[in-house]
């Protein structure tokens, strides 16, 4: 298996970076759906990192998304910063915002989840109220587009796709590295018993704080990407609850304890939602997603990817 791993990855890279743009590039609608689903996928990945490694349920990813969007938009609009570094700083801004949540790490389970939910509301209200900076409910428009790099226009649909794909791939890699590292092991042990892990000398609060910072950074940067991709921003959109709802459902659907699950879940859920559910019920199509979340939690809480992997493995064993 091991020696094939690089081959699989190479094939996946060719498919994602060459075949998908070539095949779907002409269909702008489909391409925009793919970009949006990868945006959701990036948030789902960040949410799952916090949930799986940090053991924390966050109902506040929208706060990080919104902060990242605004930081990047304002840096480019008001200070004339180039878009790509501004996107990175958007992630940093979201991380800084998450510093305000650090005291909440003392709380566990439902208390942490609800405290984060409260934080998300606070950030939304602040963005609404500080009109001088954020443009208030009217929003910001004319946000700079993604630049042209080496003669390649990143602001076009295919360019945007390549940017978000690369962001997500890098996030996957970071997630993988963290999980493989000493920290990943400590976090896994913490999931079993936090007290026992503390006893053997692991600073569990520090580790959780780091996961929160990383998750906030990822979500903020995805938000920053989205801002420069759509070039418009308003508080209700940037801090909207769908940036929390859909990634959670996607991560649960795919399997939040796996690395690829949240991403696969996001692409599947977003596509099905937009192509099918939205046509069936134009207003309130999230009702089906809600039902899906409930069903998944009851019947298959570990998500579909682990189940599929299990099936696949079972078959190959039977053949051998």
């Amino acid at each position: 298996m091991k020696q094939y791993r690089w081959m699989y990855l190479a094939v996946a890279a060719v498919v994602l970076y060459v075949l998908v743009p070539l095949l779907l590039g002409g269909n702008l609608y489909l391409m925009s759906l793919v970009v949006a689903s990868l945006t959701i996928g990036g948030i789902a990945l960040a949410w799952a990192l916090l949930g799986n490694l940090g053991g924390m349920v966050s109902f506040g990813q929208a706060a990080f998304f919104g902060v990242g969007s605004y930081v990047s938009a304002l840096l480019t609009l008001k200070f004339g910063l180039p878009v790509l570094p501004a996107m990175l700083l958007g992630g940093v801004g979201a991380s800084l915002a998450s510093l305000a949540m650090l005291p909440a790490l003392r709380l566990k389970g439902p208390y942490f989840a609800l405290a984060i939910l409260a934080y998300a509301q606070i950030f939304r209200i602040l963005a609404m109220e500080f009109r001088g900076v954020t443009g208030g409910a009217g929003g910001l428009s004319g946000i700079p587009q993604l630049p042209t790099v080496f003669g390649f226009d990143l602001s076009a649909k295919v360019g945007g796709y390549l940017v978000i794909l690369s962001i997500v791939v890098v996030f996957l890699w970071i997630y993988y590295l963290i999980r493989k590292s000493y920290y990943g092991l400590a976090l896994k042990a913490m999931h079993e018993s936090e007290d026992a892990t503390r006893v053997v000398g692991v600073n569990s609060t520090l580790l959780k704080a780091m996961m929160l910072l990383v998750s906030a950074f990822m979500t903020g940067m995805v938000g920053a990407f989205n801002t420069h991709y759509i070039n418009f921003l308003e508080p209700d959109y940037a801090f909207g609850s769908s940036w929390t709802v859909i990634p959670i459902i996607a991560a649960i659907f795919g399997g939040y304890r796996t690395i690829f699950g949240p991403l696969a879940g996001a692409v599947a859920i977003y596509m099905i939602d937009q192509l099918i559910f939205k046509n069936l019920i134009p207003n309130g199509h999230q009702i089906i997603l809600g039902v899906l979340l409930v069903l998944m939690i009851i019947f298959c809480p570990s998500g579909l990817v682990p189940v599929l992997v299990e099936k696949f493995k079972g078959k190959t064993h039977a053949e051998a």
Binding site: V57, F59, P103, A104, R106, L107, K108, G109, P110, Y111, A113, L114, A115, L117, A118, Y119, Q121, I122, I125, L126, M128, E129, S241, V245, I248, I249, I252, I281, N283, G284, H285, Q286, I287, L289, G290, V291, L292, L293, V294, I297, I298, P301
Partner: protein, 290 residues
């Protein structure tokens, strides 16, 4: 100025009544099953919309919608209970996600049935002002404040005096020991969900009678109820009432002195302050959270 402050203290007190009903429902379920029902605010909102439907379609007083709302909301609450009890592992975390999902379903169901418009009562008597010295309120606010107080006292009596009420408290303090004493924990959990539905119904009808309702309000209500239970600390009914009044007063003062947009913000800040400075709540027993 002092009159304005006095007036906001009064309005806050009145709002605190129905806040306490919402919070008590949430706290009851949290007490017996150690789960937060994130769909609780949506249950309240469901009752409010049933009252709206009764008034707008059947042209009757929203109060007459209470029986129907009781049936629907309690049924929904029981469904939430059965769904939660189906969870096999990791109940604390999964129940949060599950009830979050139920909340999404209810919000969108409300959106589908009643559209996204904002509604408030058109009942004249409810809207008439009631003057108490220099203090003003609507008839509906005072009516439902009294109703809330009566309900809270009834729940308190039930919990402390009746067999089932004591069973609920027994299960809340130690499920296994209660089971050994011949209490069926599943029954008591179910009862706490039904009672939580009853409280949500009255809170919802109250909400419609003096406020405005819209489909997205549910999660804000849940957060408010949770803020109050945190303010109150674990297992204290007078604490819930005081916490609710405190939240109501803080919100009313913010509206008077700053703007209504910041109203939610101060509630949240109060919540975070209490959570970090007084983690046992203002009136709670000496118990650590988690």
């Amino acid at each position: 100025m002092s009159e304005l402050i006095l007036q906001s203290l009064y309005s806050g007190l009145l709002a605190g009544g129905s806040y306490a009903l919402i919070a008590l429902g949430l706290a009851l379920v949290f007490g017996t099953m150690k789960i937060i029902n994130l769909a609780h605010g949506e249950l309240v909102l469901l009752a409010a919309y049933i009252a709206y439907m009764a008034e707008s379609m059947l042209k009757i007083n929203p109060l007459l919608a209470i029986p129907l709302a009781l049936i629907v909301v309690c049924l929904a609450s029981v469904i939430v209970y059965f769904l939660v009890s189906k969870i096999v592992k990791d109940r604390e975390l999964n129940s949060l996600l599950l009830t979050y999902g139920v909340g999404i379903v209810l919000t969108n169901a409300i959106l589908l049935i009643w559209k996204s418009d904002i509604h408030s009562t058109s009942n004249e008597w409810f809207q008439q002002s009631l003057v108490l010295g220099s203090l003003y309120s609507m008839n509906s606010e005072v009516t439902f404040f009294v109703v809330s107080l009566v309900l809270i006292v009834l729940v308190w009596l039930w919990l402390s005096k009746s067999w089932y009420g004591r069973a609920v408290r027994a299960v809340a303090s130690n499920r296994d020991a209660a089971k050994l004493m011949g209490i069926n924990p599943r029954w008591t959990e179910l009862i706490s969900f039904v009672l939580s539905g009853v409280l949500a119904t009255f809170a919802g009808v109250a909400l419609y009678s003096y406020g405005v309702i819209q489909p997205e309000l549910g999660s804000a209500l849940t957060v408010k109820a949770f803020i109050i239970t945190v303010l109150a600390g674990a297992g204290s009914i007078p604490g819930v009432l005081l916490g609710a009044v405190l939240l109501g007063v803080v919100e009313a003062l913010t509206t008077t002195m700053f703007s209504s947009a910041l109203q939610e913000l101060t509630g949240m800040l109060l919540f975070l302050l209490v959570l970090f400075v007084l983690p046992n709540g203002l009136f709670g027993a000496n118990r650590r959270r988690g």
